[in-house]
């Protein structure tokens, strides 16, 4: 079983979460914008910790056991159901990721080109990353993190002269509701919370400490980026489909007139890491059902399904909107992170020890 350190894992999760932020598509979500967003992130920290508490308490005594392994320990049927559920959830997130990417790149960067080439090639590279193994993606994430932070620092420094704090208004100007709603939506988008419970068997180190660092890191990143966006481009961001991309376009450093290429490169890499991570977990879940020997066949099948579904959803955007809005309700996340662990506790445990799938 591949093993990675806790820090590597949470770096991957940090990158995955930042990808969602970088590609916010207005009109797809009702969330707090502007200054209200700054306050809603505090709620994100609180909600995230609260949601994960039950699962951590349930798995506390099961050293090195993830949610699916725990389910198999309870009963074969529960294990089967869990593996299927999480495989579907992970696959849907991977597909969502690919569609997000395709929509962005055909809106902001290559508006005259077809979705097909982006979806296919993006998915193929993600499949290759899964094929190479979890460790290689984890190691690559370390490099990607350095690139991400470096590029953000460059963008922020080059926009220093545009800073104007007049755009920072009271987060409660529109009332408390947008802030609370924003916090809830930010948590509902964080499918990474589900990954924490699934990856426990693959991690070396203190998972809880890593999780706290991850939450704080995401908070710092999102808070910083919202702050920079508000203070530099201000209301201009509202007119742009991808505000952070607009910020990168405006940034000038030395001889370089714009930094949107840097933004695109980093963001593509992060998107690949996210897709690879979710495809990996989908593969692992399906290996529980079909056997580890078939993992390459499973991977190919997952790749085919991802490509097909992504192309369809990118074409029928209303269907994608419906799926995305369903994700934002939080139902899939709460089922995965809250309902499933609680149900598993209620199932009477099996007397004899079972082999792991």
């Amino acid at each position: 079983m591949p093993q990675i350190t806790v820090s590597q894992f949470f770096i991957m999760l940090f990158l995955c979460r930042s990808f969602s932020f970088f590609t916010i598509v207005p009109g797809l979500r009702e969330s707090a914008s502007g200054s209200a967003g700054l306050a809603s992130l505090v709620l994100f920290v609180v909600f995230s910790v609260l949601i994960m508490l039950p699962s951590f308490l349930i798995l506390r005594r099961q050293k090195g056991v993830g949610l699916i392994e725990f389910a198999y320990q309870r009963s074969q049927g529960a294990g089967f159901a869990c593996a299927t559920l999480f495989a579907l959830l992970a696959l849907s997130v991977a597909i969502d990721n690919v569609v997000h990417f395709a929509v962005f790149i055909t809106s902001a960067v290559y508006p005259n080109d077809s979705n097909v080439i982006f979806v296919v090639l993006f998915t193929l590279v993600a499949l290759y990353m899964v094929y190479l193994g979890l460790e290689s993606t984890a190691r690559f994430s370390g490099l990607a993190l350095i690139l991400l932070l470096g590029s953000l620092v460059m963008i922020v420094l080059s926009l220093a002269r545009e800073f104007d704090t007049v755009g920072l208004i009271s987060p409660f100007l529109g009332g408390v509701r947008p802030v609370v709603q924003g916090g809830a939506v930010t948590v509902n988008e964080s499918s990474e919370l589900m990954l924490v419970l699934l990856f426990i068997p693959y991690l070396k180190g203190n998972v809880k400490k890593g999780f706290l660092w991850w939450v704080l890191g995401v908070f710092a990143l999102l808070e910083g980026m919202i702050f920079v966006t508000l203070c530099t481009v201000g209301q201009y961001a509202v007119t742009q489909s991808y505000p952070l991309y607009a910020v990168a376009k405006m940034a000038r450093l030395f001889y370089f007139q714009r930094m949107d290429a840097v933004h695109m490169v980093i963001w593509t890499m992060i998107g690949l890491i996210k897709s690879a991570l979710y495809l990996f977990i989908a593969q692992r879940c399906l290996c529980f059902l079909f056997g580890a020997k078939r993992k390459n066949t499973i991977l190919l099948a997952l790749g085919g399904i991802t490509i097909l579904c992504s192309l369809l959803l990118a074409h029928y955007f209303t269907a994608y909107q419906a799926l995305y809005n369903f994700t934002l309700t939080g139902i899939p996340l709460y089922v995965a992170v809250l309902l499933v662990p609680v149900l598993l506790i209620l199932i009477p445990g099996r007397r004899r020890k079972e082999d792991k799938a």
Binding site: V109, L132, E135, T137, M269
Partner: protein, 514 residues
């Protein structure tokens, strides 16, 4: 479709590898009769012209001395073998056993003296520059090392030139190389393990390691891999490289080579294992990490600030050489808004009159450059200079004036080529990657280059030479070993604690000692 292809492939006539069968009688034991032995020896080698034998009588016992012509130093032979034998002091009625005893204990016919019992061993010794003694009445032979074959003198290594430091490079005879290593580490922990490789060539190879530093499991792995290498002939260390590599198919080497004894010594002191191969000046080093491609002995002799600057330069050169042509083509074709105006105007002006799209221009000019580089390597030196002049004229001037390629492209090629020379160990990978990125950039733009770069970096991260992550200690990250990766700290710091490869983060190699 796959079964059809399978069938087609199987139908192709292929000669499966068959290890050569021994010459009949080669593995037989020597007999007591000297004449029978000589007849057998002549028969086995087909009366080869380079086999020289001489019958002498020592103490009344007939002996034969055999050498391979040109392999033995005749001066050494006469001094340490012929004269002592002639002046042995043995009586005329000595027995073969007494003569044998004389060679064993009462004389020093050579420091490297061995006894053997089969014809196969006899030929091995003869072909290794030993003088062989056969004694009438004894079914064994005595081989004495007195090599005197010609070999290239020790000179500056051609592939690893440095400003400061030793100018000695390895040579073809393995034993000379061993002495160069031994002179640099005067410690009993330095071990040499000689084994034979190549069924037909029986090439001597030598494992070199520090017994107090190397991991036992690493050493066992290397030994096992080399023993399992089934090759007919081993003429160069490159033949053994694939057997020491592991991990996914990759463009990057997992085994390093060096021509320098000082470099080899530095590597084995970090717990690595080196492999010397007789007949080639290039030694192998395993495990070999990616960051070692950017290290050279000069880094450790220069001052830290300069060495750090050079390191950064090398890393920048690597990315420049693989990405610059592809990025240039990608930006000019798909995203010209990223160019500053003045540069864009220049590029647009040059593209006005050129017939080919930028991607083809880049491919053509890089292809011509590779042709010239390869021609310059293979041609004799006097003509090689002419090639460089022709190349400069053809690419630098004529092609641009003729409007076949744009001037900015020539600059791109020049910068790319110079950057690739900064990291000679990665030249093979760089060349292939450069062409790949040109193709990708020309068809898919910056998006494609990002995908390619990601795939390349992930492939690099997936490699684990001998169980150690190739990208360690950058990823998985460890702060302490980073002192010698992107920077090179002062020797006052470097010398405080020894870094061993088994201590790198993510290493699966244990710390057991041999």
């Amino acid at each position: 479709m796959f079964s059809f292809l399978k069938k087609k492939v199987r139908q192709e006539k292929r000669r499966e590898y068959q290890p050569p069968s021994p010459v009949p009688g080669e593995n037989e034991r020597l007999v007591a009769s000297l004449s029978d032995n000589m007849i057998k020896i002549r028969g086995l080698c087909g009366n080869s012209s380079d086999l020289t034998d001489r019958r002498i009588a020592v103490g009344g016992v007939e002996m034969a001395v055999l050498i391979s012509e040109g392999m033995v130093s005749l001066a050494t032979f006469s001094e340490i073998m012929a004269e002592p034998l002639m002046n042995s002091g043995l009586g005329p009625d000595s027995t073969p056993q007494e003569v044998l005893q004389f060679t064993r204990t009462l004389s020093l016919l050579g420091m490297d003296q061995k006894e053997f019992y089969t014809y196969a061993e006899l030929f091995t010794f003869l072909d290794s520059g030993f003088a062989v003694l056969l004694i009438e009445g004894e079914a064994l032979g005595v081989a004495c090392g007195m090599q005197g074959f010609s070999f290239r003198s020790i000179s500056e290594p051609s592939s690893e030139v440095n400003v400061r430091g030793s100018r000695e490079g390895f040579v073809e005879p393995m034993r000379i190389n061993m002495t160069m290593i031994r002179r640099r580490i005067k410690s009993p922990a330095l071990r040499f393990e000689i084994m034979s490789c190549g069924v037909r060539s029986k090439t001597d190879i030598c494992l070199v390691y520090m017994s107090d530093t190397v991991s036992g499991s690493l050493l066992d792995k290397v030994r096992g891999r080399l023993r399992s290498a089934k090759l007919d002939v081993v003429l160069e260390s490159g033949y053994l490289e694939p057997f020491l590599e592991e991990g996914p198919l990759s463009l990057f080497p997992g085994v390093g080579t060096t021509e320098r004894p000082d470099t080899l010594v530095a590597k084995i002191c970090e717990g690595r294992v080196a492999v010397l191969v007789d007949g080639t000046p290039f030694a192998l080093i395993t495990p070999y990490l990616f960051n070692e491609n950017f290290q050279s002995i000069d880094d450790y002799t220069h001052r830290p600030y300069y060495a750090t600057f050079i390191r950064f330069l090398k890393y920048a050169a690597f990315f420049l050489t693989i990405l610059l042509p592809g990025a240039y083509v990608a930006l000019a074709t798909f995203d010209p808004e990223l160019f500053p105006n003045a540069l864009l105007f220049n590029i647009a002006t040059s593209e006005e009159s050129t017939p080919f799209p930028l991607m083809f221009e880049a491919l053509i000019i890089h292809f011509i450059y590779e042709l010239m580089r390869e021609a310059g390597l293979r041609l004799p030196r006097p003509i090689g200079h002419a090639v460089s002049i022709v190349g400069a004229l053809v690419i630098g001037d004529a092609a641009v004036t003729a409007g076949l390629i744009g001037a900015p492209m020539v600059m791109v090629v020049a910068v790319t080529a110079i950057s690739s020379f900064v990291i000679p160990t990665l030249y093979q990978s760089i060349t292939v990657l450069r062409f790949a990125f040109i193709l990708i950039g020309g068809t898919l733009g910056v998006f494609g280059i990002t995908l390619g770069l990601t795939a390349m970096l992930c492939n690099l991260c997936a490699k684990r030479p001998m169980g150690i992550p190739e990208t360690a200690p950058a990823s998985p990250f460890s702060a302490y070993p980073m002192r010698d990766i992107f920077t090179r700290v002062s020797w006052r710091t470097l010398g405080q604690q020894q870094l061993q490869v088994q201590d790198l983060p993510g290493s699966e190699v244990d710390d057991s000692r041999q």
